[in-house]
């Protein structure tokens, strides 16, 4: 299949991204809100619980004047697990929304616009599972690598402490570029699943070869786009985050006024208890805003890279997508 557009310049990428954000804004917003609403509420409750139990534990320790016991730690552990569960649900929500938004954007590029509900049903038709699969595989490989390095370090530690110190520095120096290199090579795997209906392994392979020969270019453009996006998001989300933490700030300033600025840590305990929802809502809103932009430029870059490497092999797609007429088997270029 011919790519929807020829290789793009940086200016073209910006222009396409802005134009697509405008064209798909409301559909993408519906998807992001529908998927993230529940996880954001869950996160707010979990963060609130976690901060409250943390403040309670500190209070108990202060009153009893003893070391923390198991009875004191258990409530914290239970709220911590709830918090981790909520974070996991939130991360899943972001992943699902990213797939669905990528579908909307890619169809818009291919001049076959679809509704947000169609994009959601397409996402829930196996793509969500492949999305989880590629994330699990990617992170397992990264974590596995780190564990192997940890074992090697432990062996060196057994031999000599100085040797271990040297190895830690060397490993860190080597590990960061390796993770960045591989991370970028696999950056487009989720988009490959969303757009081209590839399986887990195929998507990782597709992303790897897509970036081949364009690593630095892709790295530079992604870095630039993410800096610009984060700045724009922070400008917009600052008043929202501030508003969501209004009560916390009010309480804090009231305390400052009453004490002439000399607040002792005891007084901050109540404040700590009310931190949670504000933080969760603030980060939820930021994630939501980010979802309206990040998948858009990632899909544009994906098609740009496909246009650049369009030379050969074809990977078979899910026949359902081909029959649908919205897409044909894709020429994956150098794969």
């Amino acid at each position: 299949m011919n790519p929807p557009f020829p290789p793009l310049t940086l200016g073209d990428i910006f222009e396409k991204t802005f134009s697509l954000i405008g064209k798909t804004f409301f559909r993408n917003l519906c998807i992001a809100v529908l998927i993230l609403l529940f996880p954001i509420i869950l996160m707010a409750i979990a963060t609130d619980d976690f901060y409250s139990s943390l403040a309670d534990m500190k209070d108990t320790i202060h009153q009893v004047q003893s070391e923390p016991s198991l009875d004191m730690i258990l409530p914290i552990l239970s709220t911590l697990s709830f918090f981790l569960l909520a974070t996991f649900v939130f991360a899943l929500g972001v992943l699902f929304a990213e797939i669905a938004i990528s579908i909307v954007v890619s169809r818009e590029i291919l001049s076959h616009p679809i509704t947000f509900s169609d994009a959601l049903s397409e996402m829930f038709n196996l793509k969500w599972l492949y999305g989880i699969g590629q994330a699990v595989l990617k992170y397992s490989i990264f974590i596995g690598g780190i564990i192997i390095i940890g074992i090697i370090l432990a062996i060196f530690a057994a031999l000599s402490k100085m040797l271990m110190g040297l190895m830690v520095v060397l490993c860190l120096l080597a590990l960061i570029p390796v993770i960045v290199y591989i991370g970028l090579k696999w950056y487009f795997s989720l988009i490959a699943i969303a757009v081209d209906d590839l399986t887990v392994i195929e998507s990782l392979r597709a992303s790897w070869y897509l970036v081949e020969g364009y690593w630095w270019r892709t790295f530079g453009i992604l870095l630039l786009l993410s800096i610009l996006t984060q700045f724009a998001i922070s400008i917009v989300s600052l008043p929202i985050t501030f508003g969501s933490m209004w009560d916390v700030y009010k309480e804090y300033f009231t305390m400052l006024g009453k004490t002439g600025g000399n607040i002792n840590p005891e007084m901050l305990k109540n404040l700590e208890k009310s931190f949670g929802p504000g933080i969760a809502i603030g980060s939820g809103i930021s994630a939501l805003l980010s979802l309206l932009v990040t998948p858009v430029y990632t899909v544009v870059l994906y098609y740009d890279l496909r246009a650049r490497g369009n030379t050969g092999t074809t990977i078979q797609q899910n026949p359902a997508v081909v029959q649908d007429g919205s897409q044909e088997p894709i020429d994956l270029g150098q794969f």
Binding site: G11, F14, E15, F18, S19, I227, L228, F231, A232, I235, V236, L238, P239, F242, G243, W246, Y249, K250, F253, T254, L256, G257, G260, G261, N262, I263
Partner: protein
């Protein structure tokens, strides 16, 4: 120089020969992209400059503030840091806000920068009415901000510490502050927001550009409590730009707004206010009266610009 004068002072449309224009790219995208790029450069550069100046100046103060109360500590730190902050503001605005936007206009749109941003002559009456409307709007914006400050229970001492950067205690310091706080933002911010963003958005969005740029102006200051008042001020100044097709009334209006704030914080060595600018409690009715007066002057501005007003797209 003659070329510059001729070109800049007349309301002649520039020739769009920059790379963005030649490629017939989307103009709205250019406005937002230019704004974000300049914003990133400005905020990162200002953070770095302030950080460096902070560390260069703060080291000596650690010993002095030991054992002092919280208020004394932040007050002293602010006294030490107010000049570095003023330097960083002036340097950042000229180097990292004005220069990038001039570069973007030259590269993307036209080499005739002054003509693009519309540095154009306007009748004196237009200028006077714009400044008068801004003066009338100051109590309105002040009371909006004050409303949020009161609702949030921000203590007076904290507000005073924050105001230290804009407070002057001698005529030399006042003059220096006028350069830093009044002239610099009036020129640099107006070039960015009205001269570039609104000018570019106006080409495709017309009157809507006034409101969009006004809200962006409020958001860009990153002061949640002043968001509404700054956005309203941005819309007011944007309206002058839209009607007059000149940046001059905007620069004067912005200058006036900041000047009133600086003058109200000009004090003697004994903390006595020299100019009592709006030094009274603004009542609800007073606020409404100021708002009505502003509205009347805006209507007057509409009337006096009617003759020369061109609904310009492009």
């Amino acid at each position: 120089m003659d070329h510059l004068n001729e070109e800049s002072l007349e309301r002649t449309p520039p020739i769009f020969d920059g790379s963005w224009e030649r490629a017939h790219r989307n103009i709205t995208t250019a406005a937002f992209l230019g704004l974000i790029i300049t914003g990133v450069v400005y905020f990162y550069a200002q953070t770095i400059i302030t950080g460096i100046l902070f560390f260069l100046n703060i080291s000596g103060t650690q010993e002095i503030i030991k054992g002092k109360t919280f208020i004394e500590q932040i007050s002293h730190t602010m006294t030490v840091l107010k000049n570095p902050l003023r330097y960083s503001l002036i340097v950042s605005q000229f180097l990292f806000m004005l220069l990038p936007i001039v570069w973007i206009i030259k590269r993307w749109h036209t080499i005739h920068v002054l003509s693009y941003v519309r540095i154009a002559r306007i009748p004196l009456l237009e200028l006077v009415v714009a400044v008068a409307a801004t003066v009338c709007f100051v109590p309105v914006s002040g009371s909006i901000s004050e409303f949020f400050v009161t609702k949030l229970n921000i203590p007076d001492f904290l507000a005073q510490v924050h105001a230290q950067i804009f407070t002057s205690y001698s005529s030399q310091e006042l003059l220096w502050l006028i350069v830093v706080v009044c002239i610099t933002p009036a020129v640099c911010e107006e070039m960015l927001f009205r001269g570039y963003v609104q000018r570019t958005l106006e080409r495709t969005l017309g009157m809507k550009s006034v409101f969009i740029t006004g809200i962006i102006f409020g958001l860009y200051h990153m002061q949640p409590l002043n968001l509404i008042s700054l956005s309203c001020l941005g819309i007011l100044i944007g309206y002058f730009y839209y009607r007059s097709k000149s940046l001059v009334p905007c620069i004067f209006a912005h200058f006036t707004n900041n000047l009133l704030a600086v003058l109200s914080l000009y004090k003697t060595q004994h903390e006595q206010t020299v100019f009592r600018v709006f030094d009274f409690e603004i009542t609800f009715l007073g606020g409404i009266a100021a708002l009505l007066l502003t509205g009347t002057l805006v209507f007057l501005y509409y009337q006096i610009t009617k003759k020369n007003f061109v609904k310009q797209f492009g």
